[in-house]
């Protein structure tokens, strides 16, 4: 009796949905290989705009912005993943405690407050305490808003790991630290890696908050791209966008695959719940 699940037209809408989601990205990726200087007339396939990104007049600006973006994403993802892992241990393994729901709300706060409000608030805060805007302020803002993105996969994974593993280790005279490091951490790893990768792309992709707290002169890749786009979409921007797009898709795919492989380990099936 498959009939009740089928609605005429729904399949078409679902296909159209994917088409809408991917068409602009595919079009830009294709046109980034356009050999012509004109944006829209096709002049044969070529890598000239990719070469332009690395050697053209804007190469230095994009290079510096890429360096800033990558180092900030690396540090922000590392710090926020460490903070989120600690928080997940307390929230998932700590039982009921006072302030638990308040802490939960706090962790999710960066997801609920509109980005532009966070951006304004952070800028005003830094200006009030007299911290000059630049690399450091961008980094602090990124660590903060990356926490929930790192937290969600780690907490989800931790919830699926039965306590019996740690208890067995403790029964066999492992210290609490040993039980964590030798037993729980390896089981938790897929969640941690997945959270790390997500935090990394969220940091790499952020535009609105970065644009407010970066100050003059400092650029990350998205703000550099925005600056170029404001003067008109140029083919080299499409090439650099395509590369960033490829990096994001690669990271999401990795995060997804690691998470899925992790779900097949016995620890996840041994959950008494």
């Amino acid at each position: 009796m498959k009939g009740v699940r089928h609605y005429p037209g729904f399949t078409a809408v679902a296909v159209a949905c994917l088409l809408v989601l991917y068409a602009p990205m595919v079009v830009v990726a294709v046109y980034s290989f356009n050999g012509s200087t004109s944006l829209t007339t096709w002049g044969g396939a070529s890598l000239r705009w990719y070469a332009d990104v690395f050697t053209g007049p804007e190469a230095e600006r994009f290079g510096l912005a890429t360096w800033n973006s990558l180092t900030i994403a690396l540090i922000a993802a590392t710090l926020s993943t460490a903070i989120a892992t600690a928080a997940a241990m307390a929230m998932v393994r700590g039982g009921r405690f006072r302030g638990k729901s308040a802490t939960f709300a706090l962790i999710n706060l960066p997801l609920m407050v509109p980005e532009i409000v966070i951006a304004v608030a952070t800028l005003i805060f830094f200006s009030t305490i007299g911290l000059r805007t630049g690399y450091l302020t961008v980094l602090i803002a990124h660590v903060t808003f990356c926490i929930p993105f790192a937290y969600l996969p780690i907490a989800a994974r931790l919830e699926g790991i039965a306590r019996t593993y740690e208890q067995a280790a403790r029964d066999l005279y492992a210290t609490r630290w040993q039980a964590f490091r030798l037993i729980l951490l390896p089981l938790l790893m897929p969640g941690i890696v997945s959270g790390y990768l997500l935090a990394f792309i969220i940091s790499l992709d952020d535009f609105i908050i970065t644009n407010f707290v970066k100050g003059a002169g400092m650029e990350t890749l998205p703000t550099a791209i925005f600056g170029s786009v404001k003067q008109g979409i140029k083919p080299n921007v499409m090439a650099i966008s395509t590369m960033l797009l490829a990096v994001s898709i690669l990271f999401v795919s990795l995060s997804y695959l690691i998470n899925r492989r992790g779900q097949k380990t016995p620890a996840q099936q041994g959950d008494p719940a």
Partner: protein, 299 residues
Amino acid sequence: MARGAPGDRSLLAPLLLPTWAVIGLFMVVPVAVMSLYSFLTREFRGGVDWTFTLSAYDQFFFDRGLFGDERPRLEWAYISIFWRSIWQAAVATVLCLLVGFPTAWFIATRPARSRAVWLFLVTVPYWVNLLIRTVSLRFLLRDTGPLNQALMGLGLIDVPLPIVNTNFAVQVGLFYSYLPFMVLPIYAAVERYDFALSEAAADLYASRWTALREVVLPLVKPGIVAGCLLVFVPSLGAFLAPDLLGGAKTFMIGSLIDEQIKGSQGNWPFGAAVAVILMTLVLIALLLYARAITRERPA
């Protein structure tokens, strides 16, 4: 059995301290400082004077004439920007719902294996840089862009459709930005739906569409409400879609805040006040949502 070993609690504070410190200091405190800022006096050198005033809110809601001595009248300039933002966000939400529901339903009725692939495909765009996606959309929709070229090549139109720089372009941009947010919660709701109920409805001579309206929709409503909220809230404060796809006539809240904080004619207390008003609207939407789900539960 599920209780932790005694002494676990001693670790709670050190484990949570970093989270409390970072989010507390760099998000809760800044939002508080910003709210305070909205009550300060603007200094003409661009800074603020630490005297309490309601002038930022007064400027938002009332017009007192050029010299500030006339009887206050309601100021429509800013209210209409909010009204437009709410309208744009609402249209985008409806568009997302019209496309998102059938898509979520379709995915939920696939076999488990292909379901994962479909879900993944819907999620990927969310993780891709929103700036790049919006720029791509602008490129696609431009007067001389691939879409218009294709339509003209097919002989469907003679002159390019002017899409970019209209309200419609902004709505499409918001729809495109936040569509995955609509699909995922509805999918989660449909996935839990027991299709035997649809079969029962069919046995009782309900048509497909009657069953959808009378049986399915009430049961998956929490997912629909969550999806609408997840699309509406970010759309309301969106900056990129109106900035890159719209023109001067499509100014939204995000652009107004940006102009007041970053523009050369900026007014920080006023920008802060606009952000506080936006945050209040979002809070109201969240509270309405919380009320809606607590009312669903006991039923």
